[in-house]
């Protein structure tokens, strides 16, 4: 690696070295508690899948260039040059970690391995060796924000074509079945850019007589998946600008954990509230704005907490309230809530199909956890989790149905 490239990468590293990050990098005692917390290591017990190792590949570069001992005596201790081998290790560490943060819950110092991986990702982006597909998707999302007028009419027509399916689920009267661009709407719903995410939610919000508008933009933030802070903000800004233009009071994020994390925690204070769709559905049920038929869904149901929505986002009780309103037959996974194991599909791994076999192997602990419940229906709340658990179902022959919580409510609506 030439000097200019190395200096560029070290400048990027330096940009992340605030006080919390220095603490994370300085205080690890290698006690190993994080290893037993990690779903990947529980499924594939190899050292390279422990959180402490994932952090260590970053920490050794830190020791080499940002600690006095490493600068004076680079041959001493475990400091490491930033070179092609180091970049390869960083890639393996950062993009096979889903960023679930379960390790952080067990670490006595609260070391945030996900935040440390953000350094690894930034260096890989600086080296142009990040997963190409994630950057390509992030660029396409940003482009969509810049050139919305070019696609607006055909998108409106595409959405119009979904209306029959919305009406089939909820037959009530509504002026606009899937409203778009409604100035003064109470709520802006940000879906994934697909029928699977739009139709069930539209049925529910129409049933609740909500004054809502569908966003022109998809919720998912590929800038966050790839680990590029600038692209993350540009992608989020499209939705923020739309929400401000329409003067909505609430931005509601669909079943996408990363999108919820970004909009709820990473974009600063905005003139609207940010909610997850599960919080909104729980509110509709509590206020009796929607009616559902209990036990229309047959069989024992369990719930998988998506990491970004449960552990990170704190939306833990609402999904349970919803499921208990729909079924008398609910069982918790063990552990669950903030302590739940990641399914293995986060961090863009399920969305892009990269690391396919490893992803399924790493999901073994989740498959075992589901099997132990005896449930026939697994409900979840994030499309990465849905995709991953469906694949785990096929691979580990779990014999379950996997449903998104929004589909579940839409399927049980009473007209």
């Amino acid at each position: 690696m030439d000097k200019a490239k190395r200096e560029k990468l070290l400048d990027l590293f330096q940009s992340k070295l605030d006080r919390p990050m220095r603490t994370y990098l300085d205080v690890c005692t290698r006690c190993g508690l994080c290893k037993d917390a990690c779903f990947a290591y529980a499924s594939v017990p190899k050292p390279e899948y422990t959180p402490v190792w994932r952090a260590e590949v970053v920490r050794r570069i830190y020791k080499r260039y940002f600690k006095l001992s490493g600068r004076l005596f680079p041959f001493w201790g475990e400091s490491k040059e930033i070179d092609e081998e180091a970049l390869k290790q960083l890639n393996q560490a950062a993009y096979t970690c889903t960023g679930c943060r379960r390790c952080m819950m067990y670490c006595p110092f609260g070391i945030d391995t996900q935040a440390i991986q953000a350094i690894a990702k930034l260096l890989l982006i600086g080296n142009e060796s990040e997963p190409e597909i994630l950057s390509m998707l992030a660029d396409a999302s940003i482009e969509k924000g810049k050139s919305l007028d070019l696609y607006k009419e055909s998108f409106i027509q595409g959405i119009k074509n979904l209306e029959k399916e919305v009406v089939a689920r909820w037959k009530g009267e509504s002026e606009q079945v899937i409203p778009l661009d409604v100035e003064g709407a109470h709520l802006l719903y940000v879906a994934l850019a697909g029928a699977h995410s739009i139709i069930p939610a539209a049925s529910i919000m129409n049933a609740a007589r909500e004054n809502w508008s569908l966003s022109f933009f998809e919720a998912v933030n590929f800038g966050a998946f790839v680990g590029d802070p600038r692209k993350t903000q540009l992608i989020a800004k499209r939705i923020i600008d739309e929400a401000i233009r329409l003067k909505v009071k609430e931005v509601v994020i669909c079943e996408c954990g990363t999108a919820f994390r970004v909009m709820k925690h990473l974009v600063g204070k905005q003139p609207f509230e940010v909610s997850h769709i599960a919080e909104v559905m729980a509110r509709y049920l509590r206020e009796k704005r929607i009616r559902v038929e209990k036990d229309r869904i047959k069989g024992l149901i369990t719930y998988h907490d998506p990491c970004n929505i449960g552990r990170y986002g704190g939306v833990i009780q609402e999904p349970r309230n919803i499921i208990r309103a729909l079924s008398s037959d609910f069982v918790e996974m063990e552990p669950s809530g903030a302590w739940n194991y990641c399914c293995g599909g986060g961090g863009g791994l399920a969305a892009t199909g990269d690391y396919g076999q490893l992803r399924i192997t790493m999901g073994k602990v989740k498959a075992d956890q589901i099997r132990r419940t005896g449930a026939k229906v697994v409900v979840t709340n994030c499309y990465n989790c849905t995709t991953q658990i469906r694949e785990l179902n096929d691979k580990y022959k779990l014999g379950i149905k996997v449903k998104s919580i929004v589909e579940l409510v839409a399927d049980c609506l009473e007209n």
């Binding site: 998707l137 396409a140 850019a193 969305a351 892009t352």
Partner: protein, 80 residues
């Protein structure tokens, strides 16, 4: 209408949710030569904005888009 553009490769992406169609197309376009045309058939309405945005950023050209019968069909020319 569709007979007007000859496709060198066709991808059936029906039923795949976002973002799979655009991911598969970005891989599929590398399997044809520059100047050739890829036809992609999807049911995902998100593709109506995803595909043109992807084409602009990846330097490819959408020659035509057709909606009908619940299907959305794109003809995409590889430019580089």
């Amino acid at each position: 209408m569709s007979e007007e553009i000859k496709a060198d490769k066709t991808m059936d992406l029906k039923g795949l949710p976002c973002p799979q169609p655009v991911i598969k197309v970005s891989k599929g376009i590398k399997e044809i030569q520059v100047g050739q045309v890829l036809q992609a058939v999807t049911t995902d309405p998100g593709a109506l904005s995803d595909f043109p945005a992807w084409a602009r950023t990846s330097g490819n050209e959408i020659l035509k888009t057709d909606q009908g019968g619940g299907l959305i069909t794109f003809w995409i020319k590889r430019l580089k």
